[in-house]
């Protein structure tokens, strides 16, 4: 376990030195601030549009950070040939993979904490309330979703040759699942065979990332999700992450570097 933490620590340090997060955070803060400076009909309490924009930027930024950082991990190590001295040490390929995953995921979690604190401040400035439990649920689900995305990207980085293609494909797949994943079964019902069975199968196979998107509930101040349901969603994310990591390990274990 120590070896996994050591590798993840190196990934965290690398992410800390990179400028991706800082740039995305500044862009998010700037756009939110500009949008927040607009007043409509002299009413300073209108806030939901601002919450929606800010959360959208946070989601987009988190996906950029997660996919962008993870996609580079193994190919960069291979290109710079630092992977070989690492593997010459008494570290298994599974540990390298888990270390990389953990480092990227923890970095995403840390970035999300800062993003959500900023979001909370913006919302509180106009709404004068701190629904901390709601924000915690939203943050945890968001982070759990990123675990699946990080694992998916890691798997992609072992299967696809170029970093750019991995980033593009993972990003498109993630956005597509977020946008239409929920409706695939409904769409399949209006189709004829064999496309209906293909779309239905796809619906059951894909990780339903849209489950973790609580934005509408947060923006429109809906009540909390029951904690039991929330926990099941986290377990679902953990299961998918484990499955994707297992697949990655199966590929990585036999991969000629």
């Amino acid at each position: 376990m120590n070896k996994i933490f050591a590798i993840s620590n190196v990934v965290l340090l690398e992410m800390y030195r990179r400028k991706d997060f800082y740039v995305l955070f500044i862009v998010t803060a700037l756009i939110t601030a500009v949008m927040g400076s607009v007043t409509f009909f002299k009413d300073a309490q209108i806030v939901r549009y601002l919450k929606a924009i800010c959360l959208f930027l946070i989601w987009a930024s988190s996906l950029f950070i997660a996919i962008g950082a993870t996609a580079r991990q193994i190919p960069a190590e291979r290109e710079s040939r630092t992977l070989f001295p690492l593997m010459a040490k008494p570290v298994s390929r599974a540990q390298i993979l888990l270390g990389k995953f953990l480092g990227c995921w923890l970095a995403c979690g840390a970035a999300l904490v800062i993003f959500y604190i900023f979001f909370g401040c913006i919302a509180a400035a106009r709404e004068h309330q701190w629904p901390l439990a709601d924000y915690f649920q939203a943050w945890a689900l968001h982070w759990a979703m990123l675990a699946v995305v990080v694992a998916m990207t890691l798997f992609g980085s072992l299967v696809l040759t170029a970093v750019s293609s991995n980033i593009t494909i993972t990003f498109i797949a993630t956005v597509a699942i977020l946008l239409v994943g929920r409706y695939l079964h409904k769409v399949a019902l209006s189709m004829t065979e064999p496309s209906a069975i293909i779309v239905t199968s796809l619906y059951y196979v894909i990780p339903h990332l849209e489950l973790f998107d609580m934005r509408d509930l947060i923006v429109h101040n809906w009540p909390l999700i029951p904690w039991g349901i929330w926990l099941i969603a986290l377990v679902y994310a953990a299961a998918y992450t484990a499955l994707l990591l297992l697949l990655s390990w199966l590929v990585f274990r036999r991969k000629v570097l």
Binding site: F40, D43, Q45, V47, L141, K186, M214, L217
Partner: protein
């Protein structure tokens, strides 16, 4: 020295030439049909003809906010949302909605669908009724739809519904009557003599300012405008669902105004005209009969007193 002088002369010549060319181009530009300088808007430059498309999206987004996010997507049954509920609830827009507004999602198709519904807005609510909290004391939260309506009206100033909806919620739930009037006048600047806008403006004077004289003038102007706009059209178009709805509303409100002013004769005339286009004329007939009885009693009373 000579080189410097030549250089300065050339520079001067170029400056004069540039100024002349600019003046010439300016004259041409001012008479060019594509010149939008008089009404320059950055949105015009960025979006061009696609503005109306975006305006429609923002208008819809306002209705999404009115429902606190509980809204059908292109994959759901949208028959109960053909007319935006935020517009339907103003009473100034005819509704084309059918079906169950609370059940557009249908029954869950599978385990994921059931589970998914915990993570999205899953109940039909309206912001003016407190939204997800169902707290009627929070009806002012309807303010949240205003940014989207404002953007929509900027993009498509010819969509009168945007002004009507904005003005209605401003004056009824936020107490901003002056702003509501300003919005409607802005709408009238872009859509001169529009009967729908005039109808709503009349309501501002009748319901908020209690200025019966101005309200009557505005509604009568709206009626004239309605007649001008529908003149020469075949009956199927003239008495289309939307046109009939507006005519009925105008006649009904004029009748109410005349009743409030004590002019029962005029009120009966307007009720009778409203009855002609009403989907439920029998209800109006009862009211007309009551009014006639009241009017007869009033006419007979001075006669009885004099005997």
């Amino acid at each position: 020295m000579k080189t410097t002088r030549s250089f300065v002369s050339l520079l001067l010549l170029l400056v004069v030439f540039s100024a002349g060319l600019a003046a010439k181009l300016d004259c041409w530009f001012m008479s060019w049909p594509g010149n939008h300088e008089a009404s320059f808007s950055p949105l015009d430059v960025m979006l061009g003809g696609g503005q109306k498309l975006f305006a429609g999206s923002f208008y819809r987004e306002a209705d999404v906010y009115y429902h606190s996010g509980y809204y059908p997507t292109i994959f759901d049954d949208r028959t109960a949302f053909e007319t935006a509920h935020m517009a339907e609830d103003t009473g100034a827009v005819a509704s084309h909605n059918q079906g169950d507004e609370a059940g557009f999602m249908g029954l869950p198709l599978d385990f994921f669908d059931t589970f998914n519904r915990h993570f999205i807005p899953n109940r039909h609510t309206h912001l003016d009724e407190g939204g997800p909290t169902d707290d009627l004391g929070k009806s002012q939260e309807v303010r949240e739809i205003l940014p989207w309506l404002k953007i929509s009206s900027e993009l498509d100033p010819e969509n009168v519904q945007t002004y009507i909806v904005t003005a209605f919620w401003l004056r009824t739930k936020m107490g901003k009557v002056a702003e509501a009037e300003q919005v409607l006048r802005e709408g009238l600047r872009h859509n001169p003599n529009n009967p729908q806008l005039l109808y709503e403006l009349g309501r501002v004077y009748f319901e908020n300012y209690h200025d019966l004289l101005r309200a009557r003038n505005i509604w009568e102007a709206a009626l004239r405008s309605w007649r001008e706009q529908t003149a020469g059209k075949p009956d199927s178009e003239k008495f289309s669902f939307d046109n009939k709805f507006l005519l009925e509303q105008l006649q009904t409100h004029l009748a109410l105004l005349e009743e409030a002013a004590g002019h029962f004769d005029a009120a009966i005339t307007h009720w009778t005209q409203a009855q002609a286009v009403s989907p439920d004329p029998s209800v109006l007939q009862k009211h007309i009969d009551n009014l006639k009885t009241t009017l007869a009693a009033r006419t007979n009373a001075p006669a009885a007193t004099s005997h």
